[in-house]
């Protein structure tokens, strides 16, 4: 399980969606069909960025039933560790890349009589695939999509054409806001809520649904943490008997992999729990950035998620 199966692909198109977002299309290198997937799934894209091998999750936005063409959209992040910059600057049509099999941590509940969707900015991508799936199965849904301004409102025109009045758009620069409380108070019984977007938006929906009495299991969110750049540090891997330097622009997991340690992972965004690692000892601060460990586990100082979290101190020993 530590090394998920991968697929060799070729980049068939790179499309400028707007000034911040590019769309990438992949087909299988051997010409065979790609695996079908379910709306909300993501793939890990491997990038050989000089010395660094990055593996970054991106939501699939193409139709889950289209096995010839996978599509992802990447928003450029000038302050990030360089993954999105690599995609924007280095990846060209015709390039060969490697991706993981689709994995879904943001699946539709197929029993729901209605799906209420909240998207913020680039968080629209998993909904694009889910909506194609729901259209194919006559599902009942409604999308509320908040963007900064018209120019950055990716895919609004396509959505307006395909889903018509089931799309509701909100522009920050026109002071338009989603009326969460009204919407969350007027849904038919059994509705499921889905949210993907900036952290404050996700946290707001979680808070309001709880306050308004929504069952927890009817509220779904896609929350990939990003592996952020940070101060370099050193980690000792006791089981592997190795000491690894983690550089400013690499994650702890990437540094372990570069040292030849076969560490488990699945989402690489602090969401799935697969890379959870026991901390044997440390003398500083564990910088938790994941959405997996609960407050008690964080306070205990005994667990860390190396895909996104970092360390500040001089000694960190992991059971890996």
């Amino acid at each position: 399980m530590s090394s998920p199966a991968t697929i060799d692909v070729i980049v068939t198109h790179v499309v400028n969606v707007n000034s911040l977002i590019k769309r990438f299309h992949f087909a299988r290198l051997d010409g065979q069909p790609l695996p079908a997937f379910s709306g909300g799934a993501h793939i890990i894209v491997e990038m050989q960025d000089g010395e660094n091998r990055r593996r970054t999750p991106y939501s699939l936005m193409s139709s889950p039933l289209d096995t010839d063409d996978y599509q992802i959209s990447v928003r450029r992040d000038d302050q990030g560790r360089g993954g999105s910059l690599y995609m924007h600057q280095q990846v060209k049509t015709g390039m060969q890349m490697r991706i993981g099999y689709p994995t879904n941590l943001f699946s539709l509940d197929k029993r729901a009589p209605k799906h209420l969707m909240f998207a913020g900015g680039i968080g629209i991508t998993p909904f694009l695939a889910q909506i194609k799936q729901l259209i194919a199965t006559n599902g009942n849904f409604e999308l509320h999509y908040s963007v900064r301004n018209q120019e950055l409102g990716a895919y609004i025109n396509e959505l307006a054409q395909t889903i018509g009045n089931r799309l509701h758009t909100y522009y920050d620069d026109k002071e338009q806001r989603i009326a969460f409380d009204t919407l969350l108070s007027t849904q038919p019984a059994g509705t499921h809520v889905y949210v993907c977007g900036p952290t404050p938006m996700i946290e707001h929906v979680l808070k309001r649904t709880a306050a308004l009495g929504w069952p927890k299991v009817h509220v779904h969110y896609e929350h990939f943490a990003k592996a952020l750049p940070g101060e370099p540090f050193t980690v000792q891997l006791q089981a592997s008997n190795k000491t690894v330097e983690v550089g400013e622009n690499e994650s702890m997991l990437e540094a372990m992999e570069a040292a030849g340690v076969d560490a488990p992972y699945l989402c690489r965004g602090g969401a799935c729990g697969q890379c959870e690692t026991n901390v044997i000892e440390h003398n500083g601060t564990l910088l938790h950035e994941d959405h997996w460990l609960d407050e008690n586990e964080r306070v205990s100082g005994k667990k860390i998620m190396p895909c996104v979290s970092r360390f500040c101190g001089t000694q960190l020993v992991l059971d890996r």
């Binding site: 399980m1 799934a41 197929k110 699945l266």
Partner: protein
């Protein structure tokens, strides 16, 4: 040239009434013997389900053996008597198509001489030579098949199949076909979650086995199926040991004697695998049953020795849960003739 039915290596036999089921010597040796050491305890004994060594039940992802056609005839008899052995809750339709695709594509690529699948978009053509089936249909349109997709394809595949929906960090038994089971009922378990349907198992809950197993299962993704082996024992080579039919097979549990134990008592092995399904994100959980009589086991000295030691040291709670109390001592006594006390080699394959 078309293969004639009489050229195919499938036995004509029964799993009820006169019990004409027999294993050939080759089939005995390729069985997935479940004990890798001389004792048994519950564990999260999962591993990747990769194509295994040639000449074993692990060689292909969905094993087809000499009992295939007869097992499918037995399944048809069970379904005819009790249609509730195959059920699917309404939200599992998409998963049914996923199962059909998975089984057809694997069978056609593993056994091209027996199965073929031709696809032109959604127009599919399926040929199953051992069962004499030639079916053209539209993928995604169940009106073009004689049964719902799940039932259609699992009437042509050995073993039981449970289809588990993933929701709320749990797995739910929301569809399946169950006719070759070790005393459990799909009709009873349908709609239950992973902890609910495992509730009757002794000792394992306290050891945290199910919490860890679920955590592992939820991370299984497309392209990386996993498997584990489970086991129990059955009197007579009966596939359908269901709670619904307990009145038929229950009384047989007290018919084992020192004279008939070799032929009448069977080790029942379950090769369980776990597959993430693409369109539905559901999990397919096939449970394939292999039957080996004590006599069959005695043809592989290491296995007979090990079976003897496992039964001797088995915790009483597990023996009772598996229903072995009526014949365990008789089996131990009979198997002792194959145990000379010497150590067995590691692993579970024959020497």
């Amino acid at each position: 040239m078309a293969t004639k039915a009489c050229d195919l290596p499938f036995r004509k036999e029964t799993f009820r009434d006169d019990f004409t089921f027999r294993n050939s010597p080759e089939t005995i040796k390729r069985a997935p013997f479940p004990f890798d050491k001389d004792s048994y305890m519950y564990a999260v004994n999962m591993e990747l389900h990769k194509d295994g060594r040639a000449g074993t039940a692990f060689e292909n992802p969905f094993d087809v053996d000499e009992h295939y056609v007869a097992e499918m005839q037995d399944r048809a008899l069970v379904l005819n008597e009790d249609p509730l052995r195959c059920q699917s809750l309404p939200h599992m339709k998409l998963a049914g198509w996923d199962v059909l695709e998975l089984l057809m594509t694997h069978k056609a690529s593993s056994y091209p001489e027996w199965f073929s699948l031709t696809r032109d978009g959604n127009q599919w053509h399926w040929i199953n030579r051992p069962m004499g089936i030639d079916q053209k249909f539209t993928f995604g349109d169940e009106t073009t098949l004689p049964y719902e997709p799940l039932e259609y394809i699992t009437r042509q595949a050995q073993g039981d199949f449970c289809v588990l929906d993933e929701r709320d960090g749990n797995l739910w038994m929301d569809a399946g076909i169950v006719t070759t089971q070790a005393d459990w009922s799909l009709d009873f378990d349908i709609g239950m979650n992973f902890f609910e349907w495992h509730a009757p198992v002794p000792l394992a809950h306290e050891k945290g086995i199910f919490t860890r197993a679920l955590k592992y299962l939820l991370t299984i993704q497309q392209g990386n199926p996993a498997r584990r082996l489970n086991w129990t024992m059955t009197v007579n080579p009966r596939l359908d040991t269901s709670p619904e039919n307990y009145h038929v097979w229950g009384p047989e549990n007290i018919q084992i004697t020192p004279e008939n134990v070799g032929e009448k008592l069977f080790l029942r092995i379950e090769l369980q695998s776990f597959w993430r399904l693409p369109r539905s994100n559901a999990m397919l959980f096939p449970i394939r049953c292999y039957l080996l009589s004590m006599q069959d086991l005695s043809t592989v000295p290491k296995w007979a020795t090990r079976m003897h030691r496992v039964l001797q040291t088995l915790p009483p709670e597990i023996a009772s849960y598996k229903g072995l109390d009526g014949y365990r001592d008789i089996a131990i006594e009979w198997l002792s003739q194959f145990d000379n006390g010497a150590p067995t080699s590691s692993g579970s394959y024959p020497d």
